[in-house]
């Protein structure tokens, strides 16, 4: 499984806008490189990242080869209720990774 680092504030107040940072290990091979004898290296990237908050989608991104290796994405969401935020990455060659973070809203 690809390693991921998620930063979600553990405790927040209802209605507060919080920053969520995500980092996942992936080489993001662009498909534009060639080996030393001119053979193209095939593309292998994460193509999609979706975050859901208690099953409701709060963020979706379509990634292209221009995203740097080990994709780092920071976004915001409103802390509505306690629960689970789920992060899902999918990509080339059947790549799939899921992480969850608990959030407590007072």
């Amino acid at each position: 499984m690809a390693r991921a680092l998620i930063n979600v504030p553990a405790k927040t107040k209802r209605g507060e806008v919080i920053a969520i940072k995500t980092l996942i290990s992936h080489e993001m091979e662009t498909g534009f490189r060639h080996s030393t004898i001119g053979v193209p290296i095939p593309r292998n990237i994460i193509t999609s990242f979706v975050a859901t908050y208690n099953k409701e989608e709060i963020f979706r991104a379509e990634l292209f080869p221009a995203i740097a290796a080990n994709p780092f994405i920071t976004f915001y969401t409103v802390a509505t209720e306690s629960g689970t935020i789920t992060f899902e990455w999918t990509g080339d060659n059947g790549f799939s990774a899921t992480e969850t973070a608990a959030i407590t809203v007072e």
Binding site: R3, A4, L5, I6, N7, K21, L23, I24, S25, E27, M28, A68, A69, N70, F72
Partner: protein, 267 residues
Amino acid sequence: MKPGITKLGFVRSGALIAVLCIMTMHSTVAEIPLAERRSGYNLLSRETRAMQDDDTANPGMLWVLDGEALWRAKAGTAEKACADCHGDARETMKGVAARYPAFDPARGRPVDLEQRINICRSEQQKASPFAYESKDLLALTVYVARQSRGMPIEGTADERLKPFVDAGRALFTRRLGQLNLTCAQCHDDNWGRKLAGNPLPQAHPTGYPLYRLEWQTVGSLQRRLRNCLIGMRVEPYAYGSPEYVALETFLMWRARGLPVETPAVRP
């Protein structure tokens, strides 16, 4: 792509030739005064520094997580994990990276952290050693070195290391390669000045293994030294060569007192 003909390549070889001309005028090699030593961290842009400082944004931490898992995994015919002998790395590995390369009495020479891990792996765990720059070796090394973060590099007065520090210094100050450059000419005499648009660091290995933006992955000090040699147009030594270990020993002695930053981020 033909070397030297792109605009960037031309600028770079032009810059190197200019540096060469300046350097032939100064023939004295001066060691940086202790009080003036600075980590390459100080030359980073605001964004790159932010990458290093935030553990949830530092890509090197992904390897630290992998290393933590490897630390607890049983390996080899002895079915032992690092944790079985060394317990919690956060306690037992504190300070280790700050005093490596360390003298190995059984071998009569210093070994660096990667070599020490492989020695444990083959002798204690009875498993095959990791290849240099393999994901597993990097992960374990960066995990161990991370436990020394913030601690000052020792550069001990271990008498047994002295001949190797001297050998490393001899390599550092010897003219090498097609450009006939010494490491010292850039990193002792001209640190802070620009080469091909980027400032020259003093070259202290405070954060290894580190995430180099150029590599888009974590790499060891030996890999970086190879990059230096290639940049100087020197035939690089093979991984694990005594030349690298001597250089590492010298560089860590030269960086004594500076804090360990592993896993650092560098361009």
